[in-house]
């Protein structure tokens, strides 16, 4: 068990470290002159050489790459990702400012996406007519096919401009959260629903379900008592993908609805080539991904006795 724990934590730390290194290479080593990135592209050619040298020195760009890397890594370990070029504030503080708004949006969308996915899976499992089932099973594929920016604009058009039920932009109050939440939940629900539909169907055909029928159980009872738990477990295995979809979706959702958040901030950071802020965001996302996978790895054995047994002896 301890071995398992150590392995999983080690893997999570490795992912975060590697994400840091990857972004370092991408953002600080690959560009011809990283100092260029620190200035407004329109003005970059008019900057006097002394200023460039000064800026380069203050960011440590004049030192060997490996030293720069080690210094940055050392700082990052203490939670210091430097200062945002645009705002001049520490990267971590800048991110923490907008993080709650995104967390709220993402958590809400995830909850809604799970509800949608389970409703679809249960509907597909209990549908008796083949055409109804086909229709329900086609929904997840539609959900991932419609671009977020289109569904967002449709939501705006229908519920804000036509019906006036919800505000179109901004992030004031719960009402402003409704449309972004639905917009984000739809594509996130797609892959989960596809997986659940498949695993519900597989489990429903499995041997122990036959045993339950033979015991005299009813269809509803079998779904609740037998299929639900066994079929839901696989959904945990795509937690990482779901997390990625939430992040990617929130970038666009926040842009469409002009909401404050990590996604929109990242977009702004990339537009202005705010390198430290971009690196900080990517590492933060990698931390989130690693954490989610770590949590899944830790709770999975609690939910599946077979895995628990394998670990107890190992």
């Amino acid at each position: 068990m301890l071995r398992y724990l150590a392995l999983k934590i080690g893997r999570a730390l490795f992912v975060v470290w590697a994400a840091f290194t990857l972004t370092f290479v991408l953002l600080f080593v690959l560009p011809a002159d990283p100092v260029d990135l620190l200035f407004d592209p329109a003005e970059v050619n008019s900057v006097p050489p002394e200023v460039r040298a000064q800026v380069a020195a203050s960011y440590g760009f004049d030192r060997p790459v490996i030293l720069q890397y080690l210094t940055r890594l050392g700082h990052a370990l203490t939670g210091d990702f430097g200062t945002s070029v645009q705002s001049g504030r520490p990267v971590v503080a800048t991110i923490l400012d907008v993080l709650p708004s995104t967390l709220l949006l993402a958590a809400g969308a995830l909850a809604l996406a799970l509800v949608i996915a389970f409703v679809i899976a249960l509907a597909a499992t209990s549908a008796r007519r083949p055409w109804v089932r086909d229709l329900v099973e086609a929904l997840p594929s539609g959900a991932v096919s419609v671009p977020v920016f289109l569904s967002g604009i449709l939501m705006l058009q229908i519920f804000s401009f036509r019906l006036g039920w919800f505000p179109a932009f901004g992030d004031e109050g719960a009402r402003s959260l409704v449309l972004p939440l639905i917009t984000l939940a739809i594509p996130v629900s797609g892959p989960i629903a596809q997986l659940l539909v498949r695993s519900f169907a597989t489990e429903f055909r499995s041997g122990y379900v036959t045993t339950s029928w033979a015991k005299g159980a009813t269809r509803g009872g079998i779904v609740v008592r037998d299929v639900f738990r066994n079929a839901s477990l696989p959904a945990l295995t795509i937690a990482g993908i779901t997390f990625g979809n939430l992040i990617a979706g929130s970038v666009i959702t926040e842009t469409v609805f002009a909401r404050q958040g990590v996604g929109r901030m990242t977009q702004a950071a990339i537009n202005t080539l705010d390198v430290p802020l971009v690196q900080g965001t990517v590492v933060l996302v990698a931390v989130g991904f690693a954490l989610i996978n770590l949590i899944v790895d830790l709770i999975y054995p609690l939910l599946d006795p077979r895995l628990r047994a394998a670990l107890a002896t190992g």
Binding site: R11, V148, L150, I153, Q157, I247, I270, T281, V285
Partner: protein, 291 residues
């Protein structure tokens, strides 16, 4: 009696090679699949010969006809500069589809090769490759693509490259999983037992039997890549404004969505229809190849 009793189990599995006529017959019973193929073929037509599908040019506008609603003359209406939005969508197909194709080719080519090497070599090579893949999976592909584009510079080719790079990991993972499962099959062990060399086993047995699910993924990935390319275009990382590109078209129309909704919704809907169609086709391919 010798051969006769074999008929017990014979003929229960349908043959793999079905006559084309029967395939067409099956297709005829799936109108949605047929419609999907038509959509995809039409859009490919847009990309190859846009002039055949519209008499308007993508750039020439009639300022007097700014924001005309959809009509028989302008199917998707016109934009602020009075350019025909249907024409711009048709011409935009070229930009978006070329980028998509390039992205999928990069991801498929590199990912499949990496997955094959990792799965077939095993051991430390496999472990190393898998850890690297973990890292690429840890950064959501849109985010990774944004970072890559920011380094390479904004352009459609770079979008294609970025989307391709960010999808390598998923291809590598699927290919590796397939290779690992094929390698344990009896027929692979049998081939070794018959004296076939390692390279022969890999090329003759492992690759062909692993590829089918990766091809299914590629079919699915085309839809996903269209979305990714359009999303990056929407966010403004692609072709500069006068050029027609699907994501950009939606972004341009978005500022006027309250008053002129069609200007963003119709090009966006065209995009959604294409993605849905590719998904439908890839689903039917996967169903066909499930044994």
């Amino acid at each position: 009696m010798t051969v006769g009793l074999d008929a017990f189990t014979a003929g229960r599995r349908p043959g793999l090679a079905r006559p084309i006529a029967r395939r067409l017959g099956e297709l005829a019973r799936q109108p949605i699949l047929v419609a999907s193929w038509i959509v995809v073929l039409v859009v490919i037509g847009w990309a190859v010969a846009p002039g055949l599908f519209t008499s308007y040019g993508p750039y020439a506008g009639d300022a007097a006809a700014s924001f005309s609603p959809p009509s028989a003359e302008h199917w998707f209406g016109t934009d602020r500069l009075g350019r025909d939005l249907f024409a711009r969508s048709v011409y935009g197909a070229q930009t978006t589809l070329t980028a998509t194709l390039l992205a999928v080719l990069i991801a498929f080519g590199v990912g499949t090769l990496v997955g094959l090497i990792a799965g077939f070599a095993g051991g430390i090579v496999d472990t190393a490759v898998m850890r690297v893949i973990d890292v690429f999976l840890a950064i959501p592909s849109l985010l990774l693509a944004m970072v890559v584009v920011s380094v390479l510079g904004y352009s459609t080719q770079n979008i294609a490259l970025a989307v391709g790079i960010s999808s390598i990991a998923s291809f590598a993972r699927v290919m590796r999983a397939q290779v690992l499962s094929v390698v344990t099959q009896d027929y692979v062990k049998a081939a070794y037992g018959l004296g076939v060399g390692r390279l022969g086993v890999m090329l003759r047995h492992v690759v062909p039997n692993s590829l089918s699910s990766v091809i299914a993924l590629a079919a699915l990935e085309i839809g996903t890549a269209v979305l990714a390319v359009a999303s990056l275009g929407f966010l403004g990382y692609g072709a500069p404004p006068p050029q027609p590109e699907w994501g950009l078209l939606v972004a341009e129309g978005r500022d006027y969505v309250a008053v002129h909704p069609w200007a963003s919704i119709l090009p966006g809907a065209a995009l959604a229809v294409v993605v849905i169609a590719t998904h439908r086709i890839s689903t039917s391919y996967r169903k066909d190849h499930r044994r």
